[in-house]
Amino acid sequence: MLYILDQRLRAQSIPGEKARKVMNDIITTMFNKKFMEELFKPQELYSKKALRTVYDRLAHASIMRLNQASMDKLYDLMTMAFKYQVLLCPRPKDILLVTFNHLDTIKDFVHESPGILNQVDETFRQLIDTYGGLSAGELQLIRQTLLIFFQDMHIRVSIFLKDKVQNSNGRFVLPISGPVPWGTEVPGLIRMFNRNGEEVKRTEFTTDGNYVTLQREGSFDLYGDRVLKLGTNMYSVSRPVETHMAGSSKNTASHAKESTVPSPLAKEELNFLARLLGGLDIKKPGGSETGFRLNLFTTDEEEEHAALTRPEELSYKVINIEAVQEPGRRAELSRILGELEVAEPRPESAGKGEDLLALMDAL
């Protein structure tokens, strides 16, 4: 998310000070101690709805606003990118290296703010402590759980299509050449052992694959060369590529049918949200800072068009607070959201300013 926001802030020529403030605000909110405490608790995988709600909240942790269409696109891009990274991990432990690549870049974004840097380093240490010692089997279970979450998502991303990392059917390319995972051998040799454990015979075989041994292992320390490129910023300054999204791979004739019946939400989902959002300590911006709207598309017209033509099956369901059945729970969530509400900024462009709660209540 931060990579994409960083690129769009530059593409939209948002003044340096403002852009840095947005990035700092979001990062400091994300790495807030209470929030991290909640995330690190052993728990079930979040539902898609709940996760999207949290990201909506995080993206609006500063003076920046996003229309629904832009938020949808942002979320599409970040989930597909993360799916790609998790899928392509050569070995289960590499998901940690991917995470460390993310954190390394985040630290770069906030290198001028020692306080926020500390927050990130704290989380880094917690990650190393919690996950550094897990077995390959446990890490593979984590990876597979994440992959289940992303299953059947095939949104085509133009930067991926251009780099030939994704096919036109939305599936990612799995290379059959290149380095093998750290700690494994290049396939092609069969060794046979007798019942005493002595090697008695060797034969070779060939396949279409063209693999080489990996020269060195990435670092799992606070600082170090991760070696793995997955998780690094593909939108860096030297590659100002358009972040536009190709259409869905399915052409459906369906249209969005507005449902007026509130969906009964699972108790756990609400509890989880209340705890997580409660932990997000969103600062109210100073009076002097005026807000602005970030557009993930090249023009306002494009953004409007995207909003109108988004296929139903890709619509993200954000949690509708009004649909909450239990009055006590509804009041609590409304209170938390109220506390987090930022003063409505004067919009810089002619786009419609979205009320925060309205964003949350979109279904």
Binding site: Q151, H154, L174, I176, I190, N194, V200, K201, T203, F205
Partner: protein, 223 residues
């Protein structure tokens, strides 16, 4: 032990310790007999159905185990495993289930004492051909896995997340009797992390593949 006919030749005897009681179980060519632990009273008698066996084939019961906290399992020469539901007291023993996975005479049966972990089998049955079956006990016994008989299967299939499925040839070295492996064929399922693969026929002439994010089952055949 009274009775008009001469006592059968018992070939198997076992104490079956269930939570509520201990029974002495004896098997023979005629069937299964269950006694109170001190041998004083016969609780139950089950005659083997000779008609279930092909003619000129030996008939007997073999392999006894207490399982699932309330059952006694007994194997037969026809490959059937009889599951007896044992009441905490008295003689009202019933045959609750007959397990029909084995085609050869049951060699032996063994059961796990106590609770097996979720999904694990707690009963193993073995037959003379070398086939092993594991089961989960309960109201309804369910087959957990079946390991085929002795002898090296001709082909082996492996699939992995690198998108490759490999077919291997297994054989036994006649001189050393060591098992050897040869690579037969590699299939690259483009851009797919293979999650499952299995042969569709016993000769290994075709196999099916499933993968992550794949809504289809792919089938490959030898041409």
């Amino acid at each position: 032990m009274g009775g008009s006919s001469p006592a059968p030749d018992y070939n198997w005897a076992a104490w079956c310790a269930l939570p509520a009681r201990v029974l002495l179980v004896l098997t023979s060519q005629r069937g299964v007999q269950m006694y109170e632990a001190d041998g004083s009273i016969m609780v139950y008698w089950h005659a083997l159905d000779v008609s279930e066996h092909p003619p000129a084939q030996a008939v007997f019961a073999r392999g006894i185990a207490a399982a699932g906290g309330r059952f006694i399992c007994v194997g037969t020469s026809s490959g059937l495993v009889l599951v007896f539901d044992i009441p905490p007291k008295g003689t009202n023993v019933t045959v609750s289930q007959v397990l029909e996975q084995h085609r050869d005479a049951i060699t032996d049966i063994a059961a796990e004492l106590g609770q097996a972990p979720d999904g694990a089998g707690d009963l193993v049955t073995a037959d003379d051909a070398g086939t092993l079956c594991t089961w989960s006990t309960g109201e309804e016994f369910t087959l957990r896995s079946k390991i085929p008989a002795f002898g090296v299967p001709p082909c082996l299939l492996s699939g992995a997340e690198d998108s490759f499925v490999h077919v291997w040839q297994l054989s036994t070295n006649p001189d050393t009797e060591d098992i050897e492996i040869q690579h037969c064929h590699a299939e690259c399922v483009t851009d797919t992390q293979v999650c499952g693969a299995c042969f569709c026929d016993p000769q290994g002439d075709s196999f099916a593949v499933t993968g992550y994010d794949l809504s289809e089952i792919l089938r490959y055949s030898r041409v």
